[in-house]
Amino acid sequence: MRDEGTAPAAAPATGQETMNGERTAAGPGRPRRLPWRQMNGYYFVGPAILFFLFVSIFPLLRTIQMSLVDVEAGVPRFVGIRHYANLVQDPWFWNSLSNVLTFTVSSVILHISMGMGLALLLNEEWFNTTLRNFMRGLLILPWVFSTASSGLMWTLLYHPFGLLNYMWVGLLGQEAPIEFLAKPGLAMASVVAVNTWKSYPFYMIIILGGLQAIPAEIYEAAKVDGANAWKRFWHVTLPQLRPILIAISTIDIITTVGHVDLIRMLTRGGPLRSTETVAYYIYKTALLDGNLGYGAAVSTLMLIMLAILIILYLRVLSQGDEAGETSF
């Protein structure tokens, strides 16, 4: 907050150059201006960075430190990279890694396609705007119910005594109930379904916001050119939404990878550890079994892998983007 007060004093004269933002303005012609502009930026960024230093970086360093230590009868012992060496040979770690890959990829695809589909419907012109707004309100309901209670309700819905199997066996007359959470492959699909159901509204809303920002004239022009609905979606809507889609898919990947609550409620990693994701594995190893050093090692490794993955993901996606600054 203090920085706010000092920033304006330095601001006025810098007009044009700073507005151009990036390196163009930092030409060699005006070396005298440079420190001022840099200072300005730090004033704005400073509070957040300080906050991170104390509240995120410090504990993170501690986690990394923990990953190099083993505790025996309360006495910490430096073990170097032994946890990491064990980790590489731990089949359950690799199992959790492949599970989280399936979980994340399918969740993200479903979140965004479902969010997109419903956002497109809600973005249409409706004969009654109130009805549309009402629908929009209803469709975010899964998101506002707590994860714990939704998870609990879904365990019942999926159960052989639950609603879904009542429809399957009782109404459709099928012979055996579907064991949604009890068959390895199916359990993963069931968890992904709940995760999709629970989180799509956020993406739907963001996409809807993006759709409404697309100027109608672009569509009119496309129509005049004779583009059909599909072509307009492909050549107008998608490119216009591209920045938003990149942003939300990145956030989605990150939040889905770190997800523990739903899996804890629905399957606890079972059956046969087929839904045990890395985050759940960390939770189980560190918090349930008390192998904190090992858990910290999994955390650190996961963080590194995720960071690399996201950077690659954004690099690939931002290619051909005229701004070129999509990623950072």
């Binding site: 730090y42 939704s150 609550d261």
Partner: protein, 284 residues
């Protein structure tokens, strides 16, 4: 597909309307069934929900479970705590996030890219990795079992996403407008306040909603960093109904139903903002 304003083909418009409305309604029915089931379980003895097939006699419905929660002082306290924690988290991340996003979006700084990269990395921390260090730090800082402690750690997890999202929104807003304002004599902060923030409202609302819901639903940090109802949010109150052997389904579902109402209201309010901000047309 877009804006079926082509009234020359009236029946085409009609078919289009039927298609859109029916498809939306069908999706809503499928999506809302579990929600209806949850509300149902909040309003009838749970034995009737757990039997097969479930009993649906409407005369059995009761508001007793919700009423007893609303009357419960402990749960009112949880509700107040949740509101304070979520709103304060929201305030912190929006203020810090806007400033930082502005800094990253409009300035070139030595080390700026590195800082952004670092923030990207922080964005990837799952809560579960930092639980144990936080427990220790909270004790050392005297923030254990306080709302302030939860506000701070919640902010730490949401702020990276906020900065990143807000920066993206700001990057999309042309600098010309600010430039013009500053030539007209606005200070930089005034330009930020009068030009950029209003234009970024959709982004702020979207980000803010995300931050609020995250803080409102956060559980793992809350259960680790608090001991007493003085500081605990609703998620802890909800977890108290999950016993080792049996769970109080009625209270769980009743509590979720009650607490989803303020979220809905906030959301509907914000949604209007998003639409307004978007349709003001200033972005493009």
């Amino acid at each position: 597909m877009k804006r079926a304003s082509d009234f020359r083909f009236k029946h085409g418009y009609l078919i289009h309307q039927i298609f859109v409305v029916t498809l939306t309604t069908l999706s809503a029915i499928v999506i809302l069934t579990p929600v209806v089931w949850m509300i149902n379980a909040a309003m009838r003895p749970i034995k009737e929900v757990l039997t097969y097939p479930p009993q649906l006699d409407p005369s059995q419905l009761t508001f007793e479970y919700m009423a007893s929660l609303i009357e419960n002082e402990l749960y009112r306290g949880y509700f107040v705590n949740s509101s304070i924690i979520a709103l304060s988290t929201l305030a912190i991340v929006i203020v810090l996030g806007l400033l930082a996003a502005y800094g990253f979006s409009r300035f070139k700084m030595a080390g700026g890219r590195i800082m952004l990269l670092g923030i990207m990395a922080l964005l990837m921390l799952p809560t579960v990795t930092l639980i144990v260090p936080y427990f220790r730090l909270a004790h050392l800082a005297g923030l254990y079992d306080t709302r302030l402690g939860l506000i701070i750690v919640n902010s730490a997890f949401i702020l990276p996403i906020c900065i990143w999202l807000l920066k993206r929104y700001m990057d999309a807003i042309p600098v010309d407008l600010e430039e013009a304002a500053m030539i007209d004599g606005c200070t930089r902060l005034q330009a930020l306040q009068k030009i950029l923030v209003p234009l970024a409202v959709p982004g702020i609302v979207g980000t803010g909603t995300f931050a609020f819901i995250f803080a409102w639903n956060e559980f793992l940090l809350a259960v680790t960093l608090t001991d007493t109802p003085d500081a605990q949010p609703l998620t802890i109150g909800l977890a108290a109904f999950f016993g080792q052997f049996v769970r109080d389904w009625n209270s769980i579902m009743a509590l979720s139903t009650i607490t989803s109402i303020p979220l809905m209201i906030i959301f509907v309010l914000f949604q209007r903002w998003v639409v307004q901000g978007m349709t003001s047309g200033a972005v493009k």
